[in-house]
Structure formats: structure tokens, C-alpha cells
Symmetry: C2
Subunit: 203 residues, 2 copies
Amino acid sequence: MRKVKLNVRSNFHIKPEIRILGVDDSALLGKRVKLVGTIFRGGTWLDGVLSSEITRDGKDATKVICRMVKESKHYKQVRVIMLDGVTYGGFNVVDISRLNKATDLPVIVVMRTFPDFKSIKAALRHFKDGAARLRVIKKAGRIEKVSLKERKSPIYIQKAGISLESAIKIVRLSTTRSNIPEPLRVAHMIATGIIFGESRGKA
Amino acid sequence: MRKVKLNVRSNFHIKPEIRILGVDDSALLGKRVKLVGTIFRGGTWLDGVLSSEITRDGKDATKVICRMVKESKHYKQVRVIMLDGVTYGGFNVVDISRLNKATDLPVIVVMRTFPDFKSIKAALRHFKDGAARLRVIKKAGRIEKVSLKERKSPIYIQKAGISLESAIKIVRLSTTRSNIPEPLRVAHMIATGIIFGESRGKA
């Protein structure tokens, strides 16, 4: 296993075929929610598919994603983890700095829209530990707007263990097909296709 | 719905981004076996993911695949169905000429190796209707060897509702990443990744 580095990588070399692990979740149909991981080479080829399960509104998302990444045969090739927001399976919050440290991989959080903190706070009032969950959400740090080329809508990102400059480079190079990076677009298609019989909506 | 045509399409126009629906099955763990369908543009982009279930060693594969294809929102865009052999979920045999007629789409069967008919016959002796299943397998027609460019191993194909020439063109244009067409390579990764937690083996 690689040694744990706690600092941001300053000389992060980004190849066009950098291996990215994207994670999305399936719909909230029961108490258990499926997570789907895709291993992509940049924004082009799918190299592998992972899956796991978390508890709806539980507290196991960080641990489960960490285990899914580290137990994968692709772990040594993967250079960055990409998440679709920081809440999975309802309000099961991913602590991205903990995920970064435990996997020794940078984490990039991608969002289509700026998160609606008013609604998030209102929803978290129904949780006994809502304040603690909100702290983990806020700990994910500053939300940065990233413009994409051509007529694509901008997206929003957060990051852990990587510079903003490198994170933006990776997001741009992997956003080849739509206005969301391929690892997340495909993870979303798999997660919905497997649960509903046909993929739907947007990551 | 489109009119059913029973004849081979003689003027089958093949664009580089021709929509292909590839179907693979998951491992035999229980009585129900998951089918995964991928909708690809040629050998490049994944446009959608479908899923369904068949019975292990049952007789519903043709009907289930037919329904999965026709009920998809991608049905009107799909130009060809690609199968990984003609037996799914054990010995649940797909009648490719029936699938071709019912969906009005050409069917191409892809195999990595020439099927071992001796073993197939031996296994089918354990089925009361083994002779009937063997007839459906043989009805899939002549098996053709297809060479792929570079140092790739040749593959074997069968077809229904399409000329051999067009089938070979489609197989070649969609085999971009390995020595199996992308729709089948990715369907296999999804089917194994979802069941085992990580994709494995070859389609």
C-alpha cells in the first residue's frame, strides 16, 4: 500500500488517460442503496465497474466508498476519485478529506448546480445529528464554478488533496460527452439502468 | 411501430455512430439471471443501460430480450442487436430469427471461440427438451470467422436479418478497445460489476 500523504499534491501530472473512479448512487427505493463505481481512462474508455451498498440516510458512505476503492484491482492505477455531490443515499454524507486521507487519492466533487443550502438545512432538521451532518457537508470546502468549453453549462466543484488548478484540468478533460464528466455520466446510467430497467435522467 | 420486414436488408447503411444494443448476462448465482443491455454509438459512446431478468435454464430469453429492446426509449434509434452467443442464463436459448422478426432489427451473435458442440450436446442430454433446444441453437445458422485488424484474435459470428458483409462491417467498427465489440465488452463489465462488486473476466 502507498504511504498516506496528507498534503495537496503540488506536482500532479495529468495524462489524457488518467484513471478516474466515478461514484454515483441508485434511487431511494429501500433501506439499502446501491453505489456504482466506474473506472475511466480520462473521458474515453470504461475500464471497470464496481458496486457496493450503503444505508439510506445512514452514516456509512465514506467507509463504503473507501473500501470499494481500496479493494478494487484498479486501486493502484486510479489517480483520482470523483463524486456526484457529497450526499449519497439521501443524507449519507461523504467526508471528502477523510476519504482523501484513507485512500491517499485526491477527491473531486462535481455538482450540476450550486447546492441549495436552505433546503439542505431544512431537511437536516429531521435528523437528530443534523448539525453534525451539516458540518461534514460544509467541511467539503469552498464551491468553485467551472466553465466548460463551447455552449455547455458551467458546473460546480469541491476538492480534497488536490489543487484547484489540477481539479479543473481533470474535470475538463473528462467531460467529453455531455456537461458532466464521463465517469459520473456512465455511473449514473448504470445505477439507474440496473434499478429501473432503463437508464434515465442526469447524474 | 415499424412494419415487420422478413428479408435481409440489402442496402443497410452503416454510419460510424450506428446505434448498437449489446446484451450480456450475469453469473449463474440463483434461479433468476440478470440481463444487461448497453446502447452504444458505434464503438465509442455509451448512450444508455437496460436491464431485465430471465430464468436460469428457462425458455424466456428470446421473449425477454425482445421486450427489453422494444420497450426501450432507444428502440427507434437502435439499428442492430448484438448478442454474446445464443445461450443466456445457462441454456436459455435465444431464437435469433424470431428476435429479428419480432423487433424488426438485425441480430449479430458474437463469440470469442468456435462453440464446442460436443459439450453443448452432452449438457443438453440433461434437459427433457434438449433436442428442441439444440435445434434452436443450430437454427442460428452458419458460424463465420471474422478477422480483426492488428494483432487481435479472430472472433466468430452468426447473424439474422443482415448480410454477412454488413454484419462484419458493424463488428469491426464497434471493436475499438479489445477484441470484442464495445457494446458487449461494457455489458459484460456492468453485469459482473453489479453482481460481484467488481467487473471481471471477458465477455
